[in-house]
């Protein structure tokens, strides 16, 4: 227990002076960040601020140009492919169509890091898939083809796949960009609840500041590849920070029910 406390103290995931450039274009300036279990961290910022690049680095979809990313204190480079996939689950910004695949088959792919290319699909694998389907309320769709689902259900199926992966980290790159407002709220509430239930560290890129403030425990604001602000939603959603972030005068209203700050374009 003591050891896990220390890990918790230091953060499950740590970015240390991480930079990223594509060719001669610098996309991320040195960025340092800790992610903790049981917390949902939202990444906000204008287009081209490096949000996607940052989470892609954490998911090891790309290699940082310099700096280190550590998971449990170990550099990310040192992890094997499947070993890392057992710790970090990642949903890309554009999920592929997964044509001709049933929901259960897609979710079962989340077990690949555990059974590998040749291993048996065990009873445990089956259970994890069932639980993931249950938790995302997809059990009754399990044998439907992915193509036949609505956008919201499809996105839930991808989340279920990440759950079946049974990782400590969830990384989602704009999971709500194609969803209507009701499905956005469902999706974010689900991710937040899972973060609590399973004591996960979640890192999620969001476009909508108010949505991000409503569901995340902490926000990281990026601009020009730099972290310009970081903290509880109340400390980020305030006129000065938002104007610095988006270059647009914005005002704040308290939420009528919860009192949380809501931004609007002034």
């Amino acid at each position: 227990m003591a050891e896990s406390d220390i890990v918790k103290q230091a953060g499950l995931l740590a970015l240390e002076e991480v930079t990223f450039s594509a060719g001669s274009v610098s996309i991320l300036q040195p960025v340092s960040l800790d992610l903790h279990r049981g917390r949902m961290t939202g990444v906000i910022g204008p287009n081209g601020s490096g949000k996607s690049s940052m989470v892609r680095l954490v998911a090891r979809q790309q290699q940082p140009t310099s700096g280190t990313i550590r998971l449990d204190g170990r550099p990310l480079d040192g992890f094997g492919d499947r070993e890392l996939a057992r710790r970090i689950a990642y949903m890309p910004q554009f999920t592929p169509p997964a044509e001709g695949m049933t929901v259960r088959e897609l979710v079962a792919l989340g077990r690949f890091p555990w059974h590998g290319a040749l291993g048996r699909f065990s009873l445990e694998d089956r259970e994890k898939v069932d639980i993931a389907l249950e938790r995302t309320e997809l059990t009754r769709f399990a044998d439907r083809l992915i193509d036949s689902l609505s956008g919201g259900e499809r996105q839930r199926a991808w989340l279920a796949m990440m759950l079946a992966q049974d990782t400590a980290c969830l990384i989602l790159d704009e999971p709500t960009s194609a969803l209507d407002i009701a499905h956005q709220a469902d999706m974010l509430a689900l991710v937040r609840d899972l973060t609590r239930e399973r004591d996960l560290a979640a890192l999620i890129v969001l476009h909508d500041v108010n949505m991000a403030a409503r569901y995340c425990d902490e926000l990281v604001a990026l601009k020009g590849g730099r972290i310009v602000a970081r903290g509880a939603p109340e400390s980020i959603v305030e006129p000065g920070t938002l104007e610095a972030l988006y270059g647009l005068r914005m005002g704040i209203l308290p939420h009528p029910a919860t009192g949380q700050p809501l931004s609007y374009v002034a």
Partner: protein, 652 residues
């Protein structure tokens, strides 16, 4: 400033070509009133240079017009099947209507070329002439026309062989006539292009804008396509197929900074002329005294391949709706194992029919008893070879389609089959009597090279499945130009290659049957070890990576295995068959969706289809034996078209 920098290399190449030409003229210069030398200089050396320049310019112009009108950066006479169609028409006319050939070779060639284009446009009309579909249809028409020409030549022996030397695009001249013909067409074409500059500029936009700007869309489009075909087929009729100049010249003109259409109309023919003149000069330099081993048209293809790979990532292409909507949502079988058993039964049924039922002078007959025992030593090896090849192609098709997540990808479409042919060609060039082992090794190396090249470029240029396909088609065209060129040499190797090209199983013997069977078992079995990868790979690199698939290793293994299977299959049934495209689709269509079922079903169905094709090829035109590859492509072609047109329907 930049324009000066990009003009410099062209000027340098033109000077180099001129120096090579001057060298040649000096060699041929008559000394001491040698009359024969004088004739050679006047009627061979000089017109040859003129033809090179004019044909290059004509092809550059034709390519530019086609690319502009079809809004397709890869449209050109050879990718659109115009050259192959012209060639087939000339072969047919030579055999069945020699009077036509005497009357006007140009007319025959034009008819063939325009027929090829008409077929392609008709096929892809419903998809709005989308570039990928157009080029795929073009490839199909070209492959089928080439195979048909090859079959005609094989059936008629030496008589048609001169035609194939044409095919290689030899620029050797005996008079000024071809130069004059091409030159006059080029002049007319240029004049027309300048007159049509404005509608052409608008036709490069999308249909809606063109229409709203008041252009008579279809009329002008057809007129310009017909003009381009006329120019291109004039070249084919005069000197044969010269690949890549029509493709490269407009692309290089654009890359060299010709921005407006007016600039391109000048630059593309100029660049085409320089390219062909220089290539021809180099060919003459290399060939030296001992006669020419390499026709210029084949040399342009050889140089064009690498050039194309360099161009592809740099081309800006018009964005078209993605192909990923091509596959209609398939239904899934409740019990895949039952479907697989049915596929197995179908395979055995086809094999049994092929073994028992034959066609003779008195119609169809069923062989039994001692007759069967006699016949099966001829029939059984064919059946085994066909089944093994079909199984391997189908497995390779499943793997390539799943690897690229592209329902139109297949070993044939990606140029792997023709790449195998190029490898085989290389082996046969070194040793015309190479053993089966070396032939297969060469074919495998060629197939692997083609596949790695195309996937490497795809990964580096980060282009989507559409460009992957286009690149594959282009590599296939380059490889088949090499094959054509070697066939044009008219040696013993030519016959081996011609037989291979048409995909004949008629000579299959017990050794071949055992080899094919062993290869099929050895190569198809490991594919099943990769089914979990194959399940994940269609979801794309990002997903595969985040699930912990060792991406590089998995991709390489899949590529290697499918290249080997394609090469082995192409060895026995030739480069074209489309079984690798169809069988995976068929398996999906009957409801096999999971990677393992999909693979198993496709293998069985592919084997059954190939056995069936082989049997029909044997039966349909008795006593003649049609080549199985040709026959299979005649079955596969319409399916590809159905696929293209049904994809359009599901989208609208």
């Amino acid at each position: 400033m930049t324009s000066r920098r990009v003009l410099l290399p062209w000027a340098a190449m033109a000077v180099l070509a001129a120096v090579l030409f001057a060298w040649k003229v000096r060699d041929a210069w008559p000394v001491g009133g040698d009359h024969l030398q004088w004739v050679i200089l006047q009627n061979a050396v000089l017109p040859r240079a003129a033809v090179a320049i004019l044909a290059g310019a004509a092809l550059g112009l034709a390519g530019l017009l086609l690319q502009r009108v079809l809004r397709n950066a890869l449209a050109e006479p050879s990718t659109l099947g115009i050259s192959a169609g012209a060639q087939l028409a000339m072969a047919l006319a030579t055999l069945f209507a020699p009077a036509l050939m005497i009357w006007s070779v140009g007319f025959v060639a034009f008819t063939g070329g325009i027929a090829a284009v008409a077929i392609i446009l008709a096929l892809t009309w419903r998809r709005g002439l989308e570039p990928v579909s157009v080029v795929l249809a073009g490839m199909m028409v070209a492959l089928t026309a080439n195979a048909a020409s090859a079959a005609l030549i094989l059936a008629n022996g030496d008589y048609l062989f001169s035609l194939f030397i044409w095919g290689g695009g030899s620029l050797v001249q005996q008079s000024w006539d071809p130069a004059v013909t091409i030159g006059s067409r080029l002049a007319i074409g240029l004049a027309a292009a300048i007159l049509l500059l404005r509608p052409l500029a608008i036709l490069g936009l999308d249909d809606a804008s063109a229409r709203s700007l008041g252009v008579a869309l279809h009329a002008s489009r057809f007129a310009i396509v017909a003009l381009a075909v006329w120019i291109a087929t004039t070249v084919v009729a005069a000197v044969g197929v010269i690949g890549f100049v029509g493709l490269a010249a407009p692309a290089l003109a654009t890359l060299s900074g010709a921005r407006t259409l007016g600039q391109r109309v000048v630059a593309a023919p100029l660049i085409g002329a320089i390219l062909l003149w220089l290539t021809d000069g180099l060919v003459q330099l290399v060939s030296g005294v001992g006669g020419e081993r390499l026709p210029t048209g084949a040399a342009t293809a050889l140089l064009g391949g690498p050039l194309l790979l360099w161009i592809l990532p740099r081309l800006r292409m018009m964005e078209w709706p993605s192909l990923s909507t091509l596959m209609a949502a398939s239904r899934r079988a409740a019990r895949p194992s039952a479907i697989i058993v049915i596929a197995l039964v179908a395979l055995f049924g086809a094999a049994l029919a092929a073994l028992l039922i034959g066609s003779g002078p008195e119609g169809w007959s069923v062989a039994t008893g001692s007759l069967l025992a006699d016949l099966s030593q001829w029939r059984a090896p064919r059946i085994v070879v066909a089944a093994a090849a079909g199984a391997m192609l189908a497995a390779a098709g499943v793997m390539v389609q799943r690897l690229t997540g592209n329902p139109l990808a297949s070993p044939e479409v990606l140029g792997v089959g023709t790449g195998a042919g190029a490898g085989l060609t290389a082996v046969l060039l070194v040793n015309a009597a190479a053993s089966l082992f070396w032939q297969i090794a060469g074919a495998a190396a060629g197939a692997l090279g083609a596949l790695l090249l195309i996937l490497g470029v795809a990964a580096r240029g980060k282009f989507g499945p559409e460009r992957l396909l286009l690149g594959g088609v282009a590599i296939g065209a380059a490889a088949s130009a090499v094959i054509t060129a070697v066939i044009a040499m008219g040696t013993m190797t030519s016959y081996t290659l011609l037989t291979w090209l048409t995909g004949s199983t008629a000579q299959a013997d017990a050794t071949q049957a055992w080899t094919a069977l062993a290869l099929a078992v050895m190569l198809v079995a490991p594919a099943f070890l990769a089914v979990r990868w194959l399940e994940i790979l269609p979801l794309g690199g990002e997903t595969a990576k985040s699930l912990g698939v060792p991406l590089k290793r998995a991709r390489f293994a899949v590529v290697l295995l499918s290249a080997l299977m394609t090469a082995a299959a192409a060895m026995f049934v030739g480069p074209l068959s489309f079984i690798g495209l169809i069988a995976p689709h068929l398996a999906r269509l009957v409801g096999l969706g999971r990677a393992r079922d999909h693979l198993l079903g496709a293998v069985l169905l592919g084997a059954a289809l190939m056995v069936l094709s082989d049997w029909l090829a044997r039966m349909v035109a008795f006593p003649y034996q049609l080549p199985v590859g040709l026959f299979a492509s005649l079955i596969g072609g319409p399916y590809l078209i159905y696929l293209l047109s049904s994809g359009a329907r599901s989208r609208h």
